[in-house]
Amino acid sequence: MAVDEALLRCGGKPTLRLYGWRPHAVSLGWFQSLSDFADLGPTTPIVRRATGGGAIHHGDELTFSLALDAALLPHDIAASYALLHDAIVRVLRALGVPCRRAPVGGPQSARPSERWCFAAPVKDDLVTDAGKLLGSAQRRITTDRPRVLHHGSLVLHRPQHTPFVAAVADHVEVDDSLRARLRRALVAELAASLERIPQPGTLTAAERTLATTLRDDVYGSQAHLDRRP
């Protein structure tokens, strides 16, 4: 989480970061109350994301963050989701996972009654017949220019606390070969959708320094978790 926010705030080139979770953990949306998750018990690590939406139990999944200038995405938030989700639909269909963008969804104007991101798909969420397959959320800030952090969580196997989600493993065997192909294809398709040529990279010194500060002072602190107790 700290690295993702550092990538957002430092304002560098568009950066796609792929990662997973060890140990498996729950991430809360920015506005969620910690007390709504008291039933998870002390053995489930919890972190608060900078992005919005509902909580996600990050088990065996492919997580990605995309940090970039807002000008590189459609101005409309829904259109920016559609662009990125269409790229991921292409990736997954090519691998044999029949998914789609949901044409309709639950009510969006009411405050979410569901605490889990995957519980109630809304329009443009990426779904299969079994349910929601990808959790997505954004944070938008303005530094010297508008910037966007987009988080995505693609479920490979169903996690313990959210057994109602769809999973890539419902359709294809998730082995090391599949994981590698999935990562390569995701990089290629997301880059193509943004009209970029992907290049491997590492964090800059400024991004590393800020990530360390954010880890120590924000994401690793109980106060941050308790900002909505």
């Binding site: 949306g29 920015w30 506005f31 900078a50 992005t51 919005g52 939406g53 101005h75 409309d76 938030i77 829904a78 989701y81 969006q108 104007s109 405050r111 979410p112 809304v122 997505s136 959320a137 954004q138 944070r139 938008r140 800030i141 303005t142 508008p146």
Partner: protein, 125 residues
């Protein structure tokens, strides 16, 4: 129509400065791009805000956006009813959907008048 006594920030906040007090909110343009608002966080009375820095957050469906203060100073009042009445932001963004009132100690250097703000919105698309 936007009232003509406002100043604007590139990040789409407005402020009305009367004496040493600034009333701050977000513009109709910002609201139109933040559909389906669900949460709002504002600073409490007595807090301090800094020009150009975040004073709160607003969440539309799955996107949290930071709100930036056009002025520095102490928060004199915070619109506590707004979080439970987010539709006001669509209905009266420059009226009852004001967010905070601040005792101004300094203004951001790059606030725009209405004409310049219109051009900024056109450039953003």
């Amino acid at each position: 129509m936007r009232p003509d006594d406002l100043k604007f920030q590139k990040s789409h906040e407005w402020c009305r400065i009367e004496g040493d007090t600034a009333t701050i909110g977000i513009t109709d343009y910002a609201v139109s791009h933040l559909s389906d608002l669900v949460f709002l966080d504002l600073p409490a009375k007595g807090a301090t805000v800094t020009a150009g820095e975040s004073f709160g957050e607003i969440e539309s469906v799955k996107a949290v956006s930071s709100l930036y203060s056009p002025v520095s100073g102490e928060v004199l009042d915070s619109n506590e009813e707004l979080a439970d009445n987010l539709e006001w932001l669509s209905e009266e963004p420059f009226g009852k959907a004001w967010m905070i009132k601040v005792k101004v100690s300094a203004e951001a250097p790059d606030l725009m008048d209405g004409k310049a703000y219109d051009e900024h919105c056109k450039a953003e698309g």
